[in-house]
């Protein structure tokens, strides 16, 4: 039995992206929920399973049920960091396929920018890392970038080109938080934070929320918008702390991508549009390699000189990504919403013509959890 094409996203929405003054994380979440239910043409009372993960609320699934006035059959609160939501879609598809639930809501929201101005997290430094004061999570990614540069000759310029591409996409997205021009030189001249990563290698700190509604494929066409089918999904967990990552140049995306593409019956060359969790510029290079869009060690050359920018050989992070569009702390849900928009043809100036197959990929912890979803239009079933 395969989950391929058994469930679909029938509603998707964002809320509070950028700055949402005077709103709590749960209020932003519920605004996104309202938007997604409206988009799906689904009544709140029809929701019988919910999934969320919020950074500071350990019982956020319960808070969400309370806030929505629901008594769900299933409340999913599995926490793997920013990848959680791409795991929630897999559990949702299982519940739907087994007819344990009929309508599943997956959502997230954060007010970290207006509430604190920095990453809000309940996590402290790990016992065996705390004596050395790495910046959390930045220094972990800096160590991965340093190792990639040492081992494969990846250059400072290539890292910068990831941020430049994200900005170029953001300039086509009226909802993106930062749309000013950005050059490779700007990135390389930005403030050094934890070598080799500079400020412009780092994702934004914004508010924002997102939500999606999933139903069984057989019911998916009863909704106003074209369904976006979940064709495949897979996970990979390699560690929690960066000092325990077996090889800093190989992430769990190698496993999650192979699982997801295997289930979907597709290969990297089939994918029309790619949404990757770009917490830092090095992430995109690592994930493009591990997901099979290029060989290990060649990610730098792949992204160089506009390779993933508008007009490049692969459209990556068409909303502007966490680097330039929105990053409220756990970005995974935004990869799904942007993939849905691309597959529905709703992406405006940044629309990839004829997009039928999308890959959405979430990262959690410090390259620790990797979860990949393959999504497609009806023509891909």
């Amino acid at each position: 039995m395969s989950l391929r094409g058994k469930a679909a996203i029938v509603g998707a929405a964002l809320a509070g992206c950028g700055e949402a003054h005077g709103k709590s994380a749960m209020e932003i979440t519920v605004e996104a929920v309202h938007g997604a239910l409206t988009d799906a043409g689904v009544s709140l009372g029809d929701v019988d399973a919910i999934a969320t993960c919020q950074p500071l609320d350990m019982l956020s699934g319960l808070t969400l049920a309370q806030e929505l006035g629901l008594n769900p059959k299933f409340t999913m609160n599995n926490r793997m960091g920013g990848s959680s939501f791409l795991s929630h879609t897999l559990w949702a598809a299982m519940l739907l396929e087994l007819r344990l639930a009929d309508t599943v809501l997956i959502c997230y929201g954060s007010n970290q920018r207006t509430a604190s101005g920095k990453l809000m997290t309940a996590l402290g430094l790990p016992t065996y890392e705390a004596p050395y004061k790495p910046l959390f999570p930045l220094s972990s990614y800096a160590l991965a970038a340093d190792r990639h540069m040492t081992q494969f000759g990846t250059t400072r310029e290539q890292l910068a080109d990831v941020a430049v591409a994200a900005r170029a996409w953001a300039q086509k997205n009226p909802e993106a938080f930062i749309r000013d021009p950005l050059t490779r030189e700007d990135v390389i001249a930005s403030r050094l934070v934890s070598d080799p990563l500079r400020v412009r290698d780092c994702c934004l700190v914004t508010d924002g929320g997102g939500a999606i509604v999933m139903r069984r494929a057989e019911a998916a066409k009863d909704h106003p918008k074209p369904p976006v089918y979940l064709l495949g999904g897979g996970e990979g967990t390699t560690h929690r702390d960066i000092s325990e990552m077996p090889d800093l140049t190989v992430t769990g995306a190698a496993q999650s991508g192979a699982s997801a593409m295997g289930m979907a019956g597709v290969k990297p060359a089939d994918i029309d549009v790619v949404q990757l969790y770009d917490a830092f510029t090095i992430n995109v290079i690592l994930f493009l390699e591990d997901l099979g869009f290029c060989k290990k060690g060649e990610g730098g050359a792949f992204v160089e000189n506009g390779g993933i920018a508008p007009g490049g050989h692969l459209p990556v992070n068409t909303n502007g990504g966490g680097l330039s569009c929105v990053h409220p702390g756990m970005y995974g849900i935004f990869t799904l919403v942007e993939a849905v928009r691309q597959l529905r043809g709703e992406a405006g100036d940044r629309q990839i013509a004829g997009a039928e197959l999308a890959l959405a990929h979430g990262n959690g912890g410090v390259l620790s959890s990797q979860v990949t979803n393959i999504l497609g239009t009806e023509s891909t079933l």
């Binding site: 934890s194 070598d195 325990e244």
Partner: protein, 131 residues
């Protein structure tokens, strides 16, 4: 001494040894693998029969970053991952060398000094004979 003692878990044992100026890591009596961080069971074979051994202290830098901090707040400092000769990796810092001279491949040796909060911590210095 196994990982499943009645009194203390392996984290506490490691910390107590470090406080006495002793840096030891675990070795699995089942499969022979060295283990760090300290664990209850061996991640290679699942055995709970883990003993403590003194590593040679020699290692090689695997990756490094320099955290940039204003001078009035203490200035820059380095954070590294070190591969010990026994085949385990740990986070640490390297003392006794300019931050920008630390790079992957540098040979280092362990000693015990103060961590960020004054606690005993394993740190490394360049192996002068090798560099």
């Amino acid at each position: 001494m196994t990982g499943m003692q009645k009194d203390q878990g392996p984290d506490a044992v490691f910390a107590a040894k470090l406080a006495e100026g002793v840096f030891e890591i675990q070795k699995c009596n089942g499969c022979g693998a060295h283990v760090f961080h300290p664990r209850v069971i061996c991640p290679a074979c699942g055995s709970a029969d883990l003993g403590w051994v003194a590593p040679t202290g020699r290692g090689t830098i695997y990756a490094r970053t320099i955290v940039r901090r204003k001078p009035e707040r203490g200035g820059d400092y380095n954070v590294v991952l070190v591969d010990l000769e026994e085949g385990v990796r740990m986070m640490a810092r390297v003392d006794g060398i300019a931050h920008d001279e630390i790079a992957a491949g540098l040979q280092v040796s362990a000693s015990i000094a103060e961590g960020a909060n004054g606690e005993p911590a394993v740190v490394f210095r360049p192996e002068r004979g090798a560099s």
